[in-house]
Symmetry: C2
Subunit: 386 residues, 2 copies
């Protein structure tokens, strides 16, 4: 496997794009990435598109081929990949494989979702496609229910409090305020969070990411095709995809995801790095408590201390480990298939030193994308070349 | 890229499996392939699942992870890929890449679809997700409409008659009668076909493949992990994926698919073979006229002669080129995401000399899987080792 570099990035804003067809969102992000890369379209050998639920929500599939045609890419393999909320991260990994294996000179990945035009019932029903419905369906458990349960277990095992979890919300909403691509951002108080609507006790409104529309794209290539650029060169140091049990009853620990733990271990092995080397992470905070669990599963925070570290400000942009300086899913929004690619977009901007909420001297960044009940996970480590 | 071999194959019957959950169909086929391969599950490094419309029709996604867990595959990347009717072929190609690139010792691909429980309106609506709905939606054109148009163009350009096209139907229905996995098979007369219901003039009922449930699976590995076997060794000589314009207005010729033409050219290049070397082909006869077009696009029959060759019996199992000895989509059925993998299952049985409708001395087989309006295509060439 040869070294793979980020040649170009692009993203739409995340939020409401009700009047824009889903393929147009993907094309906007992909065209930006292509133009920025300066790479000839004839050198793009593969397109991967991450998407979860365009079929149920938009009545559209074969989006990879449709987007490839709109971009003027001729006859190349265009493939949609799906792994629930990890669809974008999985698509990125396949573009990385295409270049790392030497099969393609360059490849493009685009993640996209369009959800806000649909009713809450339609969105909830579509999102539930990511459950193991044969086994867990009869329990009636939804995703907020699952993460509410996880919170209860975390609280019991480690003493995590409402205020600890609120510290995650307050940080990510404040970070989102600095990110022009984010769907929302705000200055929140502990009291406002406590006063917000109860969703799945103890999860409240502000603990949940919103439904969103949006797309993000990355062009990858090898060192020899990388043209001159004003940007620092960003290299993929690790790209890992794992799976875990979709059945909630099979999870040995409700506040840890096996797929994340194994993906992080493999990513550290692949890169030769350790958690101490990571300057920032964009991780899968679909719910506030998920950030706490993920930060522990990734080895970035000691087990059980995720809530405390948040409360102590150690996960702020200038903390021990900057977590979700983009605002994360809680602020940026969660256009499902776009999220994993959007995280890498944010990480690249940090490593180039051009992020609107910059982590000082960021040299190594991690991204973490988790699907369903932990059934699919990707972890990516990116580094700025010296 | 190293040589890749077929280590094991498995398939459910294609037809109606109304009471079986979609993931159980996939698991049945995959477990058969795994057991036949004799490969240790710990050596399976990736699972690819081809599926098109389980979201809209079954309310289920993340099927790759769910099936991986049911099979006892631990923590490996499990990825669903989608490219409309070519989803299965695309999934196969990704399993091939996983082994050919040296990333995995072995990989498994499973294609699956479950459609017959849904109403005709639901199935039609779901299948139409494969159209370029922003551009072609307003025309009201459905897939039968598109292939009806293609037929008219073929008839005008090359003099293809109802009886020429009926020869395809009669052959594939008779072939299906010999295939225990096929959904249907029958001895049909020209008159019966002429008397069948008109669907999209000139396409009639018997010209259309049925909606189906089913799954097929293949285990791939390299030469060194291939154990002793009673079967002849089958090697992948070419695995190609291309794309074409999803917009019907962009097709320069309504009775040729650019994606097929370019995939075939690349497959011949990759294998070093020519059309004359192909003993049999399993190709994408979603409609009878499609078999005629595909056989020409693949270079197996001279341009414009597809109908005549069928009428002259030159595409029979003992003809110049055996086309769809399995019965094809017309008889086997078309469980969309399973079709491309099922074609390879049939081809492998031919090359092993164990097919219920055996092509004498078959040494090289081709499969061809076409998605949507020609937006995605895979061509695979398989050879029996000397």
């Amino acid at each position: 496997m040869r070294d793979v570099y980020v040649a170009g990035i692009g993203s739409t804003s995340f939020g409401k794009h009700v009047a824009t067809p889903i393929e147009s969102l993907a094309v906007e992000a992909a065209a930006r990435a292509l133009v920025e890369s300066g790479i000839d379209r004839a050198d793009i050998g593969a397109l991967y598109l991450g998407n979860f639920i365009s079929g149920p929500l938009n009545g559209k599939e074969v989006l990879a081929g449709i987007v490839g045609e709109r971009l003027g890419l001729q006859n190349i393999p265009c493939t949609k990949v799906e792994g629930a909320c990890a669809s974008g991260g999985i698509a990125f990994r396949h573009a990385w494989i295409a270049v790392a294996s030497g099969m393609c000179k360059a490849a493009i990945v685009v993640g996209v979702e369009k959800m806000t035009h649909a009713s809450t019932a339609e969105v909830t029903s579509a999102l539930n496609c990511a459950m193991d419905n044969e086994n867990d369906g009869p329990s009636g458990l939804t995703f907020p229910g699952l993460f509410g349960l996880a919170w209860r277990v975390h609280a019991k095992a480690y003493g995590t409090t409402r205020d600890d979890v609120s510290a995650v919300v307050i940080k990510n909403k404040a970070n989102g305020l600095k990110n022009p691509l984010a769907q929302m951002g705000s200055v929140l108080t502990h009291q406002q969070i406590r006063d917000s609507a109860m969703i799945a006790d103890p999860l409240q409104m502000f603990d949940c990411c919103p439904a969103s529309d949006g797309a993000a794209a990355i062009v990858l290539t090898s060192a020899d095709l990388l043209g001159p650029s004003d940007h620092a060169r960003v290299r993929v140091l690790a790209s890992v995809q794992t799976s875990g049990s979709p059945r909630i009853a099979n999870h040995p620990d409700l506040c840890s995801f096996e797929a994340t733990v194994s993906a992080a271990r493999k990513a550290y092995e692949q890169s030769g790095l350790s958690p101490a080397d990571i300057d920032l992470v964009e991780l899968h905070d679909c719910f506030s408590i998920a950030e706490i669990i993920d930060s522990e599963d990734l080895g970035l925070v000691p087990r059980g201390q995720g809530g405390k570290w948040a409360a102590e400000g150690r996960t702020q942009v200038d903390g021990t480990i900057a977590i979700n300086p983009s605002g994360g899913l809680l602020s940026k929004g969660h256009p499902v298939g776009a999220t994993g690619v959007g995280q890498i977009y944010e990480a690249v901007r940090q490593l180039r030193g051009e992020h609107p909420n910059q982590v000082a001297n960021a040299r190594v960044a991690m991204t973490h994308n988790l699907g369903g009940t932990g059934v699919a996970c990707t972890v990516t480590i990116l580094g700025r070349d010296a």
